[in-house]
């Protein structure tokens, strides 16, 4: 598991963040909040989309320094489009995760960014990979990351079931993100979800006033 990244340690604009990805029967759901902050004090953007499409059926979400994350994902997108042309087939999700891992690992002294990569490929179907701060690459059935993830470890451990349906999975992801956004000051805004299956990648936005409500004093 990667260490909690406190917002004050990141120079410049930090994505603060709660991000997650969950595998369900036939696809993956990858989701994030939409807040970017400076020094944990000012919300520099309340609507940023941290879900980046690096290929047709592969998305990754950014955590950590926004500048570093944007630079790495742009590089990865470029490398993957080259790779897919060379191999004459869409890249494997593991390949995408590997590209990000290589960039994070080789430049670990300069970069402060972590990623979750999720997608669908023909070889292994839906997969979720997490690339941590220092460049560790691990495949998991579901994963959470970012500063807000610490508040929902208990929730996701209790509520996750393998082989959920698409609707159950989207509800699970929405609930988890809403709970984290409610307790973490550097996560908030709207929920961005992308549901990736063999046929398509669908982007769903849950606006702030439609977030699931829990016991709120």
């Amino acid at each position: 598991e990667h260490p909690k990244m406190s917002a004050s340690q990141v120079k410049g604009v930090s994505t603060g963040t709660t991000i997650l990805a969950v595998r369900f029967r036939g696809g993956v759901v990858i989701g994030s909040d939409s807040r970017a902050s400076i020094g944990g004090e000012y919300v520099s953007s309340r609507v940023i989309n941290k879900l980046v499409q690096v290929h047709d059926r592969i998305f990754c979400c950014m955590a950590g320094s926004l500048a570093d994350a944007q630079a790495v994902t742009k590089m990865a997108k470029f490398q993957l489009s080259f790779l897919s042309i060379q191999m004459e087939s869409p890249p494997l999700v593991k390949a995408a995760a590997s590209v990000l891992k290589e960039l994070c690992y080789r430049n670990k002294d300069e970069l402060q960014a972590g990623f979750i990569t999720a997608g669908w490929d023909k070889k292994k179907g839906p997969q979720v990979y997490t690339v941590s701060l220092g460049g560790m690459l691990v495949s998991q059935p579901f994963t959470i990351a970012g500063s807000g993830s610490t508040f929902i470890y208990g929730y996701v451990d209790a509520k996750y079931k393998p082989d959920m349906s698409r609707e159950e999975c989207m509800q699970f992801a929405t609930n988890a993100l809403a709970l984290a956004m409610g307790r973490d000051n550097v996560s908030g805004g709207v929920i961005h979800l992308v549901v990736i299956t063999e046929d398509k990648a669908e982007h769903v936005i849950v606006p702030g006033n439609k977030l699931p409500k829990f016991h709120d004093e």
Binding site: K11, V13, V47, A67, Q70
Partner: protein, 277 residues
């Protein structure tokens, strides 16, 4: 003995050699009795908004050096290309030079492609340069323009991250300006409404932030037209003195007067004609 001089090939990229020395000097400055010179910052409120036909960029005009106003009417809206302008906050030298470098590169690029440059291109160039310098170039920019794909507005942070949004603010007065935007922004505004909104946002920064002040500059960019309004609003005109403190001629009585002419002798006279062709 003749020493052979060797040309040392400069390594590519920024040389961070002096950063360690600077940190050491800064740490021991008080012991040595030195005051570390501060770079001139623009304090600043800058903002931009996308309206129906284009973008409106706005900026205040105060440049500060610590607690003193170094320039009461500096220009913070920089030219990038005929259809793209960029407001700069942060270190004045950094914003000035960065925008000039990218403007120059973009003109060459535009001549090479044979097309009007796109705002996304300027954004890419700026963010890649700022990321390369890892935040040491203190330039926070609001980039706006109109190209073949319509009006675009970007905010660019010193570490190299960018945001593409319909309204952005940067600088020390950005919180005050953003408060105005969050209250009154609407998509697809008319030009006059957009100009009024930007003017009010900058005014919010000028009157509530110590680092911003003086006048409000505006730049309205639409398809094929740029209105560079400097100043758009002289919000802080210097007051006119009500009374005159001049003493009337003859107020001071003259007791004695002695005139000593200074004799100067013409020693030499030469004429040099200058070629003014």
């Amino acid at each position: 003995m003749a020493t052979a001089s060797v040309l040392q090939a400069r390594s590519a990229g920024f040389s961070f050699e002096n950063c360690k020395r600077n940190a050491l000097v800064e740490a021991n400055a008080t012991d040595l009795g030195l005051r570390v010179p501060t770079a001139r910052k623009t304090g600043t409120t800058i903002c931009g908004v996308v309206y129906k036909d284009g973008v409106v960029l706005g900026a205040d005009t105060r440049a500060t050096e610590g607690m003193i106003v170094a320039d009461k009417n500096c220009s913070k809206i920089h030219y990038i290309s005929p259809n793209i302008y960029c407001c700069g906050a942060g270190t004045a030298a950094d914003t000035e030079m960065t925008t000039q470098i990218i403007s120059s590169n973009l003109e060459l690029h535009s001549l090479s492609t044979g097309r009007l440059p796109r705002v996304a291109t300027a954004n890419r160039m700026l963010k890649q340069m700022l990321f390369r310098y890892q935040g040491y170039i203190g330039a926070a920019l609001v980039l706006g323009g109109v190209d073949c794909n319509g009006p675009h507005l970007y905010s660019i942070y010193p570490h190299g991250s960018t945001d593409k949004l319909p309204y952005v603010t940067m600088g020390s007065g950005s919180l005050a300006a953003m408060a105005v935007f969050e209250d009154r922004y609407m998509p697809d505004m008319e030009e006059e409404d957009a100009k009024r909104l930007v003017r009010d946002a900058i005014a919010g920064g000028i009157f509530n932030d110590l680092g911003s002040g003086s006048n409000i500059d505006l730049c309205v960019i639409s398809k094929g037209k740029v209105d560079y309004l400097r100043p758009h609003d002289e919000a802080n005109k210097k007051g006119v003195r009500a009374g005159s403190y001049k003493y009337k001629c003859g107020t001071t009585g003259v007791l004695t007067k002695a005139v000593t002419p200074l004799h100067t002798e013409l020693v030499e006279e030469t004429i040099q004609t200058m070629d003014t062709s």
